[in-house]
């Protein structure tokens, strides 16, 4: 296990919001861009409050999971951009693998229940 993996493991498990924010930052986005991205169905379908987002960004910047990526000057307002760091990428990878393992575990018993139901339809 390398140093970066040890550090990345400290952040697991992530809250659903934090995970979605990290995934959205696979490309540079500003705060509002993150809110829009995670609200979409393929971004997690999460309505992110600005208080929750600001808190998460502060923590992720401190931990080095994301970094600043300059300003965006679209429109009349200047907004700060953020993007995943290599550590942040590792965290996303490890968390995805962990969730995969958990989901497989769950599916295993669900399949078992379905087979039982097929054998004995009276049981629920």
């Amino acid at each position: 296990m390398d140093e970066i993996e040890v550090k990345a493991l400290e952040y697991l498990p992530l809250t659903e919001s934090t995970f979605a924010i990290l995934v959205a930052l696979a490309e540079p986005r500003h705060g509002y861009g993150i809110m829009q991205a995670v609200a979409q169905a393929d971004g997690g379908g999460i309505r992110l409050g600005p208080g929750t987002l600001y808190g998460a960004l502060t923590k992720l910047l401190e931990g080095g999971l994301i970094a600043r990526a300059g300003d965006s000057n679209a429109g009349d307002e200047r907004r700060k951009l953020y993007v995943l760091t290599p550590l942040g990428r590792r965290v996303v990878r490890l968390e995805s693998e962990r969730l995969d393992r958990m989901a497989r575990l769950g599916r295993l018993v669900i399949t078992q229940w379905e087979e039982d139901d097929d054998a004995d339809p009276a049981r629920v």
Binding site: S17, G31, Y32, I46, G49, P50, G51, T52, Y54
Partner: protein
């Protein structure tokens, strides 16, 4: 000329949700918060409206302020006032449930942890001052009164710490039930 109204009311630090609910009721009666100082709220008369009020506690340094307020602005929240690191936000909510500035329990709990941090720091400072003070040989009435006020502040801060901690556990309990 718009009508203004001043209301004197005190809320403790663990009661910010109750305070926000009260501001929402005032707005429903046509009184919209304009400014505030400790215990004194100034409202502006207007049309009754469904408005969500939410409070956040956060110390902001330098450029953080613009970044923070910009995020709320983008999400449609207006900052009405800031008092002792408490930021008052509002958003029109014409239909459905009132929106919140926090969308998960973890971040809601974090807010009260920030409040708790500052309360514990002030409490510790007061206890140290009270404990290390050397009483003069001749105890005067003025000294006695100051010491009593200090002791009162320590008690009040102690209660605030306990109530804030209780509020954090309640939030966590409610989250588990959901």
């Amino acid at each position: 000329m718009t009508q203004t109204r001043r209301v004197f009311k005190l809320f403790f630090v663990w009661q910010d949700e109750r305070e926000a609910a009260w501001l929402t009721r005032m707005a429903a009666d046509g009184w919209h918060l304009r400014s505030l100082t400790i215990g004194c709220y100034t409202f502006e008369g207007g049309e009754p409206a469904a408005v969500a009020y939410r409070l956040d506690y956060r110390r902001l340094i330098g450029a953080e302020r613009e970044e923070y307020l910009g995020l709320f602005r983008d999400a449609g929240w207006e900052r009405v006032a800031t008092l002792a690191n408490w930021h008052y936000f509002r958003k029109a909510a014409p239909e459905g449930p009132l929106p919140d500035i926090f969308s998960d329990t973890a971040s809601r709990v974090d807010k009260y942890r920030r409040v708790l941090g500052i309360l514990v720091a002030i409490l510790a400072l007061n206890v140290v001052i009270l404990a290390t003070q050397r009483l003069p040989d001749a105890v005067t009435t003025a000294r006695e009164i100051i010491r009593m006020l200090q002791a009162g502040a320590v008690v009040l801060l102690g209660v605030a710490v306990l109530r804030t901690m209780a509020h954090i556990s309640r939030l966590k309990r409610e989250a588990r039930r959901d």
